[in-house]
Amino acid sequence: MSQFADSEGSVLRALQAIQETFGYVPDEALDTVAEVCNVSRAEVYGVFTYYSDLRSTLPAPNVVRVCIAEACQASGSDSLVAAIRAELGLDVHAKSRSGETEIAPVFCLGNCALGPAALVNDRLLGRTTVAKIRAALGDPR
């Protein structure tokens, strides 16, 4: 944490570093960041709640993000979302979770010519099907 003291503009980076380490940002960490960066807890809380990447709970062991933006819509992301609901029993909404896996929508993964796209942990999928998601979950890289 000390690397962020006296460094201009470090609140976001401090929160990102905490999440990198723990997988989420524990509530008490907000006080730590406030102290180290010499700003109020309210300010830190404001930053924490603004960014959708930052989270207050531990993620499931597997995180699936399904692109629902325009280019993937054009390539059938609606059908993919429906198939995920039917076959995996998971809604692609908010932070839906079942056992080892959580699934969330995302706006664009930059794989717009090979949609629908999904990110399974750190592995990008193109022309995504439920079968491909299943395979990636079995072998998360």
Partner: protein, 524 residues
């Protein structure tokens, strides 16, 4: 033939998403099994994404391509003698001679997919660093004059002349200045920044260093979105390599000049692609839009003069400096000079990167290069310029793709993304999504965007449901006007563009006959 054969298997994220890693492994295993010496180079993607994984083999005649290669094809490729460039059912011939590539005019993307992205020597062998060496001998004003004379405009979407922005930053009499590269490529249908960062990261670094020399900045920052893990990895590796080779650091190429680059990662906010929100985020704050003026070039990051340019803008600079402003300026149409890296996305048969001079008709891109839809159904519309761009009907596809021509028909070029839809798309649904996306991603600073987008979703729902259709249509058009005129930035200001274009061109999808009086409001 002596020594080993060079085989190229891309490491671009899009290529990986359809199995390039597995192909690389199989080629290596198969070569070992057969006692063939191969050197596998993990290049970027050539940009013909429908052909990925595209495997290339270096031969006496040039690089011969095969694609799209499935894992089970690897054995038969070896059987056919692909290491000598022999024919196979997946043969594409010499890739440079392939029609899809031969008809392009690749300047900014000249090296992407060709070189090993993380080899400084490969970069230099393909024209890299010529511009930086030249810029080190030039007066800052001369660099800016050259960029200005090229006609280069901001490729992120706003299209502001790069030379003028740089001039403003140069004139600011302040010690510390910054070069910020906007790599928060959040627009659906765009991926050129990502592909360049993964496929030719040194071009971006070189462009930033030249910008630094031009305006007197010693620190560069690249703000890249967290949804791009492969690009982040490539950039970080490239920055380290550039420092080792003294392209960056305290003594740039032995000149005694200073320029350093830091890679910063976003945290999942679309608005942070707006330049002032990006600066707030780089300052560690909530990524909320700032009111302008002051312009970032006067008071930007931490209140210091800051040049904020998109990846494509900065990566075009080395080509301009090494080939001269007039070579760049000779391409294009009207006040839109040079080339644009178009991105064909969505439901398109041949999706990928098409770099051409500005002014090419949209039809040439969608039907020509793109080959129509992937589903084989008729094209109904293309959304040009990202989620804040207009939906154009296929009858409007003769429009030349340049800033002014698109503006004249109520559309915008944006970042050059083109998302193709077939006739199964419902445009009321797309319009609703545009409002919904705005509601989700609005930073909340200004009311028209924050509240207007929510009301927009509700009003579209009412129109579609047939609830007091005329009155609600009138209300929606009024709302669009308020958002267009009253929002601080393009998020709220341009969201009416997809909504109104959908209404104008496809009123039947909303259950209405036509939209009279809808030409007011939303004209960017």
């Amino acid at each position: 033939m002596s020594g080993s054969t060079t085989v190229y298997v891309p490491r671009d994220a899009a290529a990986l998403s359809v199995g390039a890693e597995e192909i690389a492994k199989r080629v290596e295993d198969e070569a070992r099994k057969r006692g063939k010496a191969v050197e596998i180079v993990r290049n970027g993607s050539r940009g013909a994404l429908w052909l990925e994984p595209l495997v290339e083999v270096s031969t006496a005649n040039g690089r011969v391509g095969y694609g799209p290669v499935a894992p089970e094809d690897v054995t038969s490729l070896f059987d056919a003698g692909f290491l000598d460039g022999a024919h196979h059912q997946l043969s594409l011939g010499v890739v440079d001679d392939h029609e899809w590539f031969a008809k392009q005019d690749r300047l900014t993307f000249a090296r992407v997919g060709v070189v090993d992205p993380l080899s400084v020597s490969d970069y230099e062998a393909h024209g890299g660093l010529v511009a930086l060496r030249k810029a080190l001998t030039m007066d800052p004003q001369a660099i800016i004059d050259e960029v200005g004379a090229s006609g280069l405009r901001g490729r992120g979407g706003a299209g502001f002349p790069a030379g003028i922005k740089w001039q403003t930053a140069l004139q600011a009499q302040v010690g510390q200045k910054y070069i910020c590269c906007n790599a928060d490529e959040g627009d659906s249908g765009t991926f050129a920044d990502r592909m360049l960062m993964e496929g030719d990261p040194f071009a971006l670094i070189e462009g930033m260093a030249i910008a630094g020399l031009a305006v007197g900045a010693t620190q560069g920052l690249i703000y890249v979105r967290s949804e791009y893990p492969h690009a982040i990895g490539a950039l970080r590796a490239a920055v380290l390599l550039a420092a080792e080779s003294a392209i960056l650091g305290r003594d740039v190429l032995g000149s005694g000049r200073v320029f350093e680059v830091e890679v910063r990662v976003g945290a999942g906010s679309y608005v942070c692609g707006e330049e002032t929100a990006m600066l707030e985020s780089l300052e560690g704050k909530r990524g909320v839009v700032r009111a302008k003026p002051p312009l970032p070039a006067v008071e930007g990051l931490f209140g210091k003069p800051t040049v904020v340019n998109n990846v494509m803008t900065l990566a075009s600079v080395p080509w301009i400096i090494s080939h001269g402003a007039s070579a760049y300026r000779d391409r294009g149409a009207g006040r839109s000079r040079g080339t644009q890296v178009f991105q064909l996305a969505g439901n398109v048969a041949r999706g990928g990167i098409v770099e051409l001079a500005l002014g090419v008709p949209l039809r040439d891109l969608v039907d020509g290069f793109g080959g129509g839809t992937r589903t084989g159904r008729p094209v109904k519309t293309a959304q040009v310029g990202g989620p804040l761009g207009a939906y154009l009907p296929s009858s409007a596809f003769d429009v030349p793709m340049d800033y002014e021509s698109l503006l004249a028909i109520g559309a915008m070029l944006g970042h050059g993304g083109i998302v193709v839809f077939d006739d199964s798309v419902n445009m009321a649904k797309q319009a609703r999504f545009a409002m919904e996306f705005c509601a989700e991603e609005s930073c909340g600073k200004c009311t028209p965007c924050r509240i207007g987008s929510v009301r927009g979703v509700e009003t579209i729902d009412k129109i579609v449901a047939g609830e007091r259709r005329r009155e609600n249509l009138e209300l929606l058009l009024d709302l669009c006007e308020v958002m267009t005129e009253g929002s601080l930035c393009a998020m709220g200001g341009l969201t009416p563009l997809p909504v109104k274009s959908a209404l104008d061109h496809f009123p039947e999808d909303f259950g209405i006959e036509s939209v009279e009086g809808s030409t007011r409001g939303a004209t960017a």
